[in-house]
């Protein structure tokens, strides 16, 4: 279990992370969501011990996180970093050895992950000779090679093609199923929605909202999009629902707890021919937009 509480860090005058609190339970995939500069990378660096936060607690399995823990974490930084002139098998094995494996085991582990990530046959290539997507796979192999207890992945999907996204998703789900907590950040909200049990939404270093997708959804009113040909004034009489906004595709209604969609449909039909009637997805993208708007 990873627990982050009241994390604060500043770069000069700028507050990068402001009293951030979050947790990742065993077997859970938690997504950090937020725009650039929201504090995702700083939080992950603090978890990995790469920067020392000004204040706040980071605990792993109940104790303050320390050097021995970091050695057992797997980390993929936002800006990839590999030795350009090193063969990829040597590179991955080197990181395995830094994490304490003997040379033979390190090499076996490196080979295992390179094969799993679709790089079999390229082991002797230098990093510089690989495509961006393949370099990313090597970076992932580096994060996974020592069978880490916790995975901290900063934008792991950035720049991957759809096949690689699927492959990585499967790997992450499998690792979570083995009981590993996974903390990852992404701008691809559909991916976060697909993979994560829980989401932490950050804005300017603060947690805007966090919880399971269902919990987040419950915090916001259900939205209904209705289009009645040529008309808008029919909404004036509705009870339990208010107009959020209006565009060319109709009106968006926020439903109160006592609103009855069926009576809204009847009211719309009474006003004129109904071209569209349906709930907005209520997906993470919608929730995120509402939160930061």
């Amino acid at each position: 279990m990873l627990e982050i509480s009241d994390l604060v860090h500043r770069f000069g005058e700028r507050v990068a992370v402001d009293r951030l609190t979050a947790a990742v339970a065993p077997g859970e995939i938690v997504g950090l969501v937020g725009r650039n500069g929201a504090g995702k990378t700083t939080t992950m660096r603090a978890v990995m011990g790469i920067l020392r936060p000004e204040s706040g607690d980071i605990r792993w399995s109940g104790h303050a996180v320390g050097r021995e823990d970091w050695l057992r974490f797997g980390y993929m930084p936002e800006e990839r970093g590999l030795y350009p002139q090193m063969r990829i098998i040597d590179q991955v094995a080197y990181f395995a050895r830094l994490h304490g494996f003997d040379p033979a085991t390190a090499r076996d582990k490196a080979q295992h992950w390179l094969t799993l990530l679709g790089l079999a046959g390229r082991e002797l290539d230098k990093v510089v000779a690989l495509s961006h997507g393949n370099q990313q796979r090597v970076q992932l192999a580096v994060a996974l090679v020592h069978d880490p207890e916790l995975l901290v992945l900063d934008e792991p999907f950035a720049g991957l093609d759809p096949a690689a996204v699927d492959a990585l998703s499967e790997i992450l789900l499998a690792e979570a199923q083995r009981g590993k907590p996974i903390l990852f950040s992404s701008h691809q909200l559909d991916l976060v929605e697909r993979l994560c049990e829980r989401v932490v939404i950050l804005e300017e270093g603060r947690v805007l909202a966090s919880g399971t997708l269902a919990e987040l959804r419950a915090r916001f009113p259900l939205q209904l999009r209705v289009k009645v040909e040529g008309l808008t004034e029919w909404t004036a009489e509705l009870s339990g629902a208010r107009v959020l906004r209006q565009d060319a595709d109709g009106v968006i209604l926020a439903l109160g707890t006592h609103a009855d969609p069926q009576s809204i449909l009847r009211a719309a039909q009474a006003a004129g021919p109904v071209e569209h009637f349906g709930f907005e997805s209520g997906g993470l993208a919608d929730i995120y937009r509402q939160l930061v708007s």
Binding site: R45, I50, R52, F73, G81, L82, F95
Partner: protein, 396 residues
């Protein structure tokens, strides 16, 4: 799990990377060839200096030929004797340089014709040989038996009994001091620069961030310095051994005992200096935003290195000046000045011990400082860090 110490792993990777790099191999080859050339070329030039050619004009001069050669051999002077028919031929041969000195012997006088001057050694050699020939002739004319003449003219061997050891070769010592300074200056600049650009490369390629998830900044720093240091020593070692072999093969300069005594002290201060400067170079390497900035940012570190080398000249001029002695204890200058002072023979044992202690302390301090700057700067993106910011920032 059988854990290899992290510093050794980091150092091992540095060494492997350098072994694989073509640049390293070319550099090693060039340095070695240069050192060998420096030793072989002077001996080639020297061996082309032919023996002095002595021309003997006419029968009376030619008669002393064998005696002249015998005496020259005893005196270890290289000469070649040629017979010349007359004065005109001799003059033109001296003029065109095919003969260095032309000797003619009359009844009561002898003449040695040269272009400008006659070397004192050759002069003395000729004088002694001519005198002996003259004495032998006079004794023969007086009717002294040949056996008595030979006994009378038998040279009395002269041996030397020195009351004090021979004076130290001050010139050789100065050269050794200068060479030591130059060697340290070039290699510290070269390999220190390699540390700076290696660190900068890890920073700008963002490898440092992945590494720091597994390795402490200080381990990364020490491993890098150690790995590059081993490569530096190996490269220097190859050049020095090649130089010594070349010297033995061409029977070049007799390596004076000064140099042999000096070698360990050069090695010691090279290691101390390398450690001190490498940590400083690593710190500046971690402050850059782009690889191209390394050279500029390294200036404050390179300056004392240049300064130390220039001070070697002043040390040679005034080895016992109080301020030279003082400066040789100042850590940035000590690696250049202390071996120079040792070469010049003006150092007592306590000074060496004190200097090594001071160096060790400042290496420790520099390592702490470098680790602090490094861990604050290495994962920071954006513009180049100033010294003040780097020191204020908190690292690990």
């Amino acid at each position: 799990m059988n854990r290899t110490p992290t510093v050794r792993l980091v150092a091992g990777r540095e060494i492997a990377e350098r072994l694989q790099s073509r640049l390293t191999r070319v550099m090693t080859a060039v340095t070695t060839v240069l050192v060998v050339a420096l030793i072989v070329i002077p001996t080639l030039v020297r061996s082309s200096s032919a023996p002095t050619v002595v021309g003997l004009i006419g029968p009376s001069a030619q008669a002393i030929g064998p005696a002249l050669q015998a005496t020259a051999k005893v005196a270890d002077v290289k000469i070649r004797v040629v017979d010349i028919a007359d004065d005109d031929a001799a003059r033109s041969m001296v003029k065109n340089g095919s003969v260095d000195v032309a000797v003619s012997i009359g009844a009561h006088s002898a003449v040695a014709e040269v272009q400008q001057t006659l070397s004192p050694t050759i002069g003395a050699l000729l004088q002694a040989t001519i005198d002996r020939a003259h004495q032998r002739q006079a004794l023969t004319d007086a009717g002294v038996p040949l056996s008595k003449i030979l006994a009378a003219l038998e040279p009395v061997p002269l041996s030397t009994a020195a009351l004090e050891p021979p004076p130290v070769n001050q010139a050789a010592r100065s050269v050794a001091a200068l060479a030591a300074g130059l060697l340290l200056y070039i290699s510290l600049g070269l390999y220190g620069g390699a540390v700076a650009s290696g660190v900068a490369q890890e920073k700008t390629s963002r490898t440092a961030e992945v590494l720091l998830a597994a390795v402490r900044p200080r381990q990364l720093l020490s491993g890098k310095v150690l790995g590059i240091g081993v490569c530096a020593l190996a490269q220097l070692g190859i050049a020095v051994v090649a130089g010594l072999i070349a010297n033995a093969v061409v029977k070049g300069a007799v390596i004076s005992s000064t140099v042999w005594v000096l070698l360990p002290s050069i090695l010691l201060w090279f290691l101390l200096g390398f450690a001190l400067y490498s940590f400083a170079f690593a710190a500046v390497g971690s402050m850059v935003a782009r690889q191209e900035e390394v050279q500029f940012v390294s200036l404050p570190v390179a300056m004392p290195l240049v300064g130390g080398f220039l001070l070697v000249y002043l040390t040679i001029a005034e080895p016992s000046a109080w301020w030279i002695r003082l400066l040789s204890f100042v850590p940035p200058f000590a690696p250049a000045l202390m071996p120079a002072r040792i070469a010049l023979g003006h150092v007592s044992a306590w000074e060496i011990v004190l200097d090594v202690l001071l160096m060790a302390a400042s290496i420790y301090g520099m390592e702490r400082l470098a680790a602090r700057v490094y861990s604050a700067a290495i994962v920071r993106g954006g513009a180049r860090l100033g010294w003040r910011t780097a020191l204020r920032l908190r690292g690990e």
